[in-house]
Subunit: 152 residues, 2 copies
Amino acid sequence: MRSKHPLSLGFLEGLIGFRLRLAQISLFEDFERALRPFDITPTRFGALVLIEANSGLSQMQLAKTIRLDRSTLVALLDHLEGKGLVKRRPSPTDKRTNELVLTDEGRKLLAKAKRRVQEHEKRLFGKLSASDRAELKRLLEAVSAKKYNNTL
Amino acid sequence: MRSKHPLSLGFLEGLIGFRLRLAQISLFEDFERALRPFDITPTRFGALVLIEANSGLSQMQLAKTIRLDRSTLVALLDHLEGKGLVKRRPSPTDKRTNELVLTDEGRKLLAKAKRRVQEHEKRLFGKLSASDRAELKRLLEAVSAKKYNNTL
DNA sequence: CTAAAAACGTTTGACGACAAACAAAAGCCG
DNA sequence: CGGCTTTTGTTTGTCGTCAAACGTTTTTAG
């Protein structure tokens, strides 16, 4: 006797949010496994990419863009800085803020990581057609584009 | 001087995974806010629905279906049981497992929660057309339908 | 039938995330 | 200018999650 998986999803069956959650779990699982050798998580990867693309940005700017609490970012940057990938440089114009920059080592590691991430995306979304992928991206953007009535 | 949001996303621009992550954050934010009065999170909600739809299921079956570690489920069920919404009932046929069932109170609360969740889904996905919603759901299902090469 | 292997629920430890409180600095406004 | 408010980075506390180890029970092999 082994009534295996097939449970009824009940109310969850119709919920897009539930599917989104499952997809997110699959995503994270594969990403984590693929980037484990680099000790890089999705969040860390996002931070590195953004620092590369916007050298000198502040912690708040970074936090907002990847939608992370600024307090969370502290430990994350401590980690990356501890590994010599990122540097916090006190801003000369605003003594409250730090300018974030990638080190040479950071740039080098990121280059390698990007290739892994590219493979990872292919693995996850490769089963979809190119137009399906574009469509998925478009729809996801629409979802997080927040301008819903904040009348709560 | 206030260089606001507009940061370049760089490499993230093209990644579906990044969009998925952002959408997931938006989802969780709205869900959490909408269901806060009930002290119900997305994960708890999933558990309640699944127990309702598959009364008597085991913890492992539940954990697998919502893709949660079985150790995580322990605390979650402790919480729900503590609030009198769920009951753990030792299985008569397999002394290792518990049969999970909803209490009357659990069923009542879940009914209310479902309505809130329905509103929440409308809020998040209502900006999409019906066909877009169906498409999104289909694509997300395809993503988490794991059967990618496990050659890693 | 019996010994080894697997499954189940639990405990403990680690980690990432948020929220609240804080000090320092910058911005605002009389 | 001079005081209040806001912003920024940090610390501390809490929570949800996974992973590993454990005892009990079931399943499987020989």
